[in-house]
C-alpha cells in the first residue's frame, strides 16, 4: 500500500470551538474517502486542515513527512483543493482561471474544458456564469492539478443531474490513476456510489473512520444527521415521507 496521508489524533478547531477530535486514519493511493456529517460539523474545516490552510492539533503526515514541514509551494504540488467558488469582482475569464490552476499555458486546458462542457465559456468572465457553470470551472481547474491528492468540498453543489453523475464518474476514475480523493458530500447515494472509506463527523466533536460496510447503516446515518434514513432494497435513502408521484 502506498500511504499518502496518515492522521493521528487529529483535532480541528475553528473560532475556539472544537469541531472534531482524535481522528485516526490512513489514506492510501487510489482510495476515495467521503466525509459526511451535518452542517457546521467541521467537514470543510477538516479539508482545510488537510490542505494545510488552517492549523490543527495532532499529527498529519503527508507522504511520510509532517504536513507542517512542507513549504506552501511544495504542498501545492502534492495537494489540490477545491473549495468555495472564488470571487468574481476582478473580471477573470474562465480560461484565465484555468491557467492559474495549471500554472502554465497547459495544452490540457482545452480538452478538460471540453470534457466539462465549458469550452464555449472559456473567454467569458466568471461573474457572467451560473453557479453550476462556475462549479464546473472549479472542477476543471482541479482536474488540471496533477497532484497525488485531491480534496473536494461539495463538488456536486450547484450541478445538474448530468454533471453530478459526471462528477461521480471523475472521482471513481481517480482510483485507477492512483490518486487519493477526499471529498465532502451531502448526498448519501452519491457517497455510497464512490466511497471506499468514510469519515463521519457528528457535529459534537466525534469523528469516525471506516468502510461503508462498517459505518453505513440507516441507524448510524439517522443518528448522524438527526433525520430519518430508510433502507430501500440495498440502498439507504432519506425518508422524505409518502411519495406524491
Amino acid at each position: 500500500m502506498n500511504i499518502l496521508i496518515q492522521l493521528s489524533n487529529l483535532s480541528v478547531e475553528r473560532g475556539g470551538n472544537t469541531l472534531l477530535t482524535e481522528l485516526n486514519c490512513t489514506i492510501n493511493a487510489g482510495e476515495v474517502v467521503v466525509v459526511l456529517g451535518p452542517n457546521g460539523a467541521g467537514k470543510s474545516s477538516l479539508l482545510l486542515a488537510l490542505a494545510g490552510l488552517i492549523p490543527a492539533s495532532g499529527s498529519i503526515d503527508l507522504l511520510g513527512k509532517p504536513l507542517a514541514s512542507y513549504s506552501r509551494n511544495a504542498l501545492s504540488r502534492k495537494i489540490a483543493w477545491q473549495g468555495a467558488l472564488p470571487p468574481t469582482e476582478f473580471g477573470l475569464t474562465v480560461r484565465q482561471r484555468l491557467e492559474l490552476a495549471a500554472d502554465e499555458e497547459s495544452n490540457k486546458i482545452t480538452s478538460i474544458a471540453d470534457a466539462m462542457d465549458i469550452a464555449p465559456l472559456l473567454m467569458r468572465p466568471l461573474g457572467e456564469l451560473s453557479s453550476g457553470e462556475r462549479q464546473r470551472t472549479e472542477l476543471a481547474a482541479l482536474m488540471l492539478r496533477d497532484t497525488p491528492i485531491w480534496l473536494l468540498d461539495e463538488p456536486t453543489a450547484h450541478l445538474d443531474l448530468k454533471h453530478q453523475i459526471q462528477c461521480m464518474q471523475i472521482l471513481k476514475e481517480q482510483r485507477n490513476s492512483g490518486r487519493a480523493v477526499i471529498t465532502v458530500l451531502h448526498d448519501i447515494q452519491q457517497a455510497m456510489a464512490v466511497a471506499d472509506f468514510l469519515i463521519l463527523i457528528d457535529g459534537k466533536g466525534g469523528a469516525e473512520y471506516g468502510t461503508a460496510k462498517q459505518l453505513f447503516s440507516n441507524h448510524t446515518l439517522s443518528q448522524l444527521f438527526d433525520a430519518p434514513v430508510v433502507r430501500e432494497g440495498s440502498v439507504l435513502v432519506p425518508d422524505y415521507g409518502e411519495r406524491i408521484l
Binding site: S71, R72, W81, G83, P86, P87, T93, Q96, A101
Partner: protein
C-alpha cells in the same frame, strides 16, 4: 495593437503637454531661448513628474485593490493621504517660510500612517480595511484640527497641496522615474501571485502562494509608493481608483498586463489633467485633482457602459 495605441497616446500627450500652457509653444520649433527654457526646464520636468506620480498612484491602486480584495480600494483608503496631509500641514505650520517643509512633513506623515496600518495587517483584508477607514477618519479629524489652527495665510497653500499640486515637487524627477520603474518591475515579479490572489486567499494559498508574506510585501510596496507620490504632488484622487479598473476593461485582469498598463495609463491621465489644469484658466492654475476626475470619470463610465452593453 492596444499597447501600440497606449504608446502613441503617451507620446501625443507628452507633446501636447509641452505645447500647451499660458503660452502655446511648438515643441519642435521653439522661437527663442525663453521658449526653449519654458519647454525643457519648466514644462518637461513637470510633465515627467506628472507621468511618474500618476503611474505610481495607479500602481498603488491596483495593488491595494488586490491586497484588500476590494475593487473600491485606492491608494488613500487606509488613511495614508490623511496622515500625509496632516504631516504636510504640520510642516507648513511650524516652518511657513520653508520650501520643503510641506514635503518633508507629508513624507513623515505618510510613513506614520503606514506604520500604524501595518500594526493591523495581521487582521486579514476586511478588518484591515475597516481599521484603515477608521484611521482615515482619525487623520481627517487631525487634519481639520490643524487647519483650524493654521494661520490664514497658510490656508491657501495647504488647500492647493491637498487637491494636488505638481507646480513645485521637491522630489527630483529622476528619483520619481526610477521609483516608477522599480515599482513596476517589483509588481511584475509578483504578478503571478497577485493573479492567484484574485481567486481569494484560500485558493491562492492552495495554489502555492505564501499569502501572509505576499500581503506584507504588497502593503509595504503600495504604501511606500503612495507616500512617495503624495510627497511629490499632494493628494490627487481618482487616478488610483479608476485607472486600474479602466486598464482591466481594456487589457484583461492578469497583472502582467494590468500593472504596466496602469503605470502608463495613470501617467497619461495625470499628464492630460495637469496640461488642462495649467491651460484652462491661464495664467492661473486649477488644482490637478479636480481635472483628473473631470477627464477620467466620463472616459471610465463610457467604457463601462460599452463593455456592459
Amino acid at each position: 495593437m492596444r499597447w501600440f495605441i497606449l504608446f502613441i497616446a503617451v507620446i501625443s500627450c507628452l507633446l501636447l503637454g509641452l505645447a500647451v500652457g499660458e503660452q502655446w509653444i511648438n515643441p519642435f520649433a521653439a522661437s527663442d531661448a525663453l521658449e526653449e527654457t519654458i519647454l525643457w526646464e519648466l514644462r518637461f520636468p513637470r510633465l515627467l513628474t506628472a507621468f511618474a506620480v500618476g503611474g505610481l498612484l495607479a500602481l498603488a491602486g491596483a495593488w491595494f485593490q488586490v491586497l484588500l480584495g476590494n475593487p473600491l480600494a485606492e491608494p488613500y483608503v487606509l488613511g495614508v493621504a490623511g496622515s500625509a496631509s496632516a504631516g504636510a500641514v504640520t510642516g507648513l505650520m511650524f516652518m511657513p517660510e520653508s520650501a520643503w517643509a510641506m514635503s518633508a512633513g507629508a513624507f513623515a506623515g505618510a510613513w506614520i500612517g503606514i506604520v500604524t496600518v501595518m500594526l493591523f495587517s495581521r487582521l486579514g483584508p476586511n478588518r484591515m480595511l475597516l481599521a484603515g477607514v477608521v484611521l482615515a477618519a482619525f487623520w481627517s479629524a487631525v487634519l481639520a484640527l490643524l487647519l483650524a489652527l493654521l494661520p490664514e495665510q497658510g490656508l491657501f497653500r495647504a488647500f492647493a497641496w491637498m487637491m494636488g499640486d505638481l507646480s513645485h515637487s521637491d522630489i527630483p524627477v529622476p528619483v520619481l522615474l526610477l521609483a516608477w520603474g522599480i515599482s513596476l518591475i517589483c509588481g511584475l515579479i509578483l504578478s503571478r501571485s497577485l493573479d492567484k490572489l484574485l481567486l481569494g486567499e484560500r485558493h491562492a494559498e492552495a495554489l502555492g502562494v505564501d499569502v501572509k508574506r505576499l500581503r506584507q510585501r504588497l502593503l509595504l510596496l503600495a504604501s511606500a509608493v503612495t507616500a512617495l507620490a503624495v510627497t511629490a504632488a499632494g493628494t490627487i484622487g481618482f487616478v488610483g481608483l479608476v485607472i486600474p479598473h479602466l486598464m482591466r476593461l481594456l487589457f484583461g485582469s492578469l497583472h502582467r498586463a494590468v500593472l504596466p498598463a496602469s503605470a502608463i495609463g495613470g501617467g497619461l491621465l495625470l499628464v492630460l489633467a495637469d496640461s488642462a489644469a495649467r491651460t484652462a484658466i491661464a495664467p492661473a492654475e486649477l488644482p490637478v485633482g479636480i481635472l483628473t476626475a473631470i477627464i477620467g470619470v466620463p472616459v471610465f463610465l463610457f467604457l463601462l457602459m460599452k463593455r456592459s452593453g
